[in-house]
């Protein structure tokens, strides 16, 4: 048996992850052509690289099909109920920083905080006959956040991409999305609410609490931790 390490299969997240492990003397790489999702590991024994979509890594960790995985904290918290019981954070990797924030049109000069949004949601429902729509792909995180902060009379509409454009297209009145610099929000005439930070996320190395390990895997994991200077 070997330990399975899940890593995002493409883009900057993959490259940065490879770099981070490289700095710790573990070389990760893609085997064969760019189109092939197979990988290799050098510099440590008994670890197998599994290239996956970042969005699937939380589920694979929870199911115990991979032992270790790199993905965003936002994805783990959105996709796993009681995430602490299914995975453990081993290390924050210092890249892929992104904030999940609530944003409204900049022209809503009367709205700067969540209680404004709540009051506007009540008035909007009366005037338009339906609940104010918030476009997002992070349904669970946004709903929990709004419930904890006592915002009512809204509805979530699913948006898997180009979320910032939904307000101008009038398919939503507000959005909750990931932003790193806020440039995309500004370019789309949106502004973040002062107390609208839902979650600060970054690429993080997680360990599954459910994946089975044999003695040899435990020894591999100890070596891995020493190499990465964890604990």
């Amino acid at each position: 048996m070997s330990l399975k390490l899940g890593v995002p299969s493409k883009g900057r997240l993959m490259e940065k992850t490879f770099e981070w492990f490289g700095r710790h003397g573990i070389t990760l790489g893609r085997a064969g052509s760019d189109r092939e999702y197979a990988g290799y590991v050098q510099g440590i024994e008994n670890i197998e690289l599994v290239l996956l979509s970042a969005g699937e890594i939380p589920r694979e960790l929870a199911a115990g099909r991979i032992h270790l995985g790199v993905t965003g904290t936002d994805l783990v918290r959105e996709k796993l109920g009681q995430w602490e019981q299914q995975v453990r954070e081993l290390a924050e990797l210092g890249f892929g920083q992104a904030d999940l924030v609530l944003a409204v049109p900049r022209c809503w000069v009367d709205v700067s905080r969540l209680d404004d949004l709540d009051a506007v949601a009540a008035a909007f429902r009366l005037k338009h006959g339906f609940r104010l729509r918030i476009a997002t792909k992070y349904h669970r995180l946004v709903r929990d956040f709004l419930r904890d902060n006592g915002v009512a009379d809204y509805q979530l509409v699913d948006s898997q991409g180009a979320t910032e454009g939904t307000v101008k297209n009038e398919t939503a009145e507000a959005i909750a999305d990931i932003t790193s610099t806020g440039d995309t929000l500004r370019a789309n005439h949106l502004k973040m609410l002062e107390d609208g930070l839902i979650l600060k996320s970054q690429a993080t190395l997680f360990k599954s609490r459910t994946a089975a390990m044999e003695d040899v895997d435990r020894r591999t994991f100890e070596t891995f931790k020493v190499r990465l200077r964890l604990d």
Binding site: G81, Q82, P105, R106, C107, W108, V109, D110, S112, R113, D115, D116, D118, A119, V120, A122, A123, F124, K127, H128, R131, H139, R140, R143, D144, L146, R147, N149, G150, A152, D153, Y154, Q155, L156, V167, K168, E170, E173, H189, E194
Partner: protein, 361 residues
């Protein structure tokens, strides 16, 4: 599954007891149209109910409770007055605590009756009380109607009262609004700057989205009006706090609330209702001098109860949800009846919880 068979048998026993009390047994569909429930409960219901869909009927929910379908059924073709009972499974998503069942049986009893609401409250409560007597449960009671009357009677603007009423069931938000309206919490900087600005729309950028400039202007005017309005007085805040803090046996609670009503006359009618309800409960042989009353009880539950509320708890099992709960939900019937309404009160027992208790079979 022997447990399931035992639960079913216990449910049948309870339903027979409700039938013996004059209720007609009814059935409802497991799949409920999602739009009605979403309209009623908002987005929160998605966190509690399972949603499914097909291309023909759209979104449906696995029945999260019986109250809504039973009210709809009654309003469509029920004769008055009516007493109903039902037994069946409800489905609740559990994303935070895997030990809580996502599927369990409820047995319910509901009264739809226009006359003597306090009598109906007492009838429902005493039937539950007597059925549950062998299990040594603690009964909790409250009255959301008194809180609503107190808010409606505040000497402040309708707009503030509507905001408070809307958040009656969210105690933290309610508290924050009270702090703001009474001047105990400072005006946030951004709000102060907005109110001081001569041209708030100067830096607004292009108008985008469905919420129009008229709506923004309307709220700006409302905010200016509110800023010009005096705070809710410290005396009223104190009275409301005293009211929310009432928690004693029903006889003492009634005396206490009568004292508060001297200074807060808006609650007098509602306190009168409580007095009549307690008389009716006592007349059914229940000792109200040992029956707990808590003014804030029921505020964190689903927001359709708007009068009498009650629950039964296993005191040595604080890990369990209430074994039984219920209350009055006149406003729900008004909402579902689109103009028509019928005063209604009822409750449910969870037979699966009873089986695990001392004295259960």
């Amino acid at each position: 599954m022997p447990e399931r068979a035992a639960t079913r048998a216990e449910a049948a026993r309870l339903r027979a007891l409700f039938e013996a009390a004059g209720a007609v047994p009814v059935e409802t569909s497991v799949l409920q149209p999602a739009d009605v429930l979403l309209d009623l409960y908002g987005e929160d219901i998605r966190a509690r109910a399972y949603v499914t869909s097909d291309a023909l009927r759209g979104e449906q929910m696995l029945r999260p409770d019986f109250t809504v379908p039973v009210v709809q059924m009654h309003m469509e073709h029920g004769a008055e007055p009516a007493r109903y009972t039902y037994a069946g499974e409800v489905f609740r998503r559990q994303e935070e605590d895997a030990r809580r069942p996502n599927e369990y049986t409820q047995v319910g009893f509901e009264i739809f009756e226009r006359d003597a609401p306090e009598g109906a409250d007492a009838e429902v409560f005493s039937i539950f009380f007597n059925i549950l007597r062998p299990f040594n449960l603690r009964a909790a009671t409250g009255d959301i109607g008194i809180l609503m009357a107190a808010v409606a009677g505040l000497r402040t603007s309708e707009r503030r009262k509507a905001a408070l009423m809307r958040h009656l069931w969210r105690p933290r938000r309610f508290r924050a609004l009270m702090d703001r309206f009474s001047g105990r919490a400072p005006v946030p900087e951004a709000r102060a700057a907005l109110l001081a600005s001569r041209d708030p729309m100067a830096d607004a950028g292009p108008m985008i989205g469905l919420r129009g400039q008229d709506e923004i202007q309307h709220r700006l005017n409302a905010l200016r009006g509110d800023a010009a309005l005096g705070p809710i007085s410290a005396a009223e805040v104190e009275l409301l706090d005293a009211l929310l803090g009432v928690r004693e046996t029903s006889d003492h609670a009634l005396e206490h609330l009568r004292d508060i009503a001297v200074d807060l006359p808006a609650i007098q009618v509602a306190v009168g209702r409580l007095a009549r309800r307690l008389d009716a409960i006592a007349a059914r042989g229940i000792d109200i001098t040992t029956l707990d009353f808590e003014a804030s009880y029921g505020r964190t539950q689903m927001e359709y109860y708007d009068g009498f509320v009650f629950g039964f708890y296993a005191e040595n099992r604080p890990d369990l949800p209430p074994v039984a709960s219920g209350g009055r939900y006149d406003a729900l019937t008004r909402h579902l009846g689109r103009g028509r309404e019928i005063p209604a009160v009822g409750g449910v027992i969870r037979p699966g919880l009873i089986l695990g208790l001392e004295g259960g079979r």
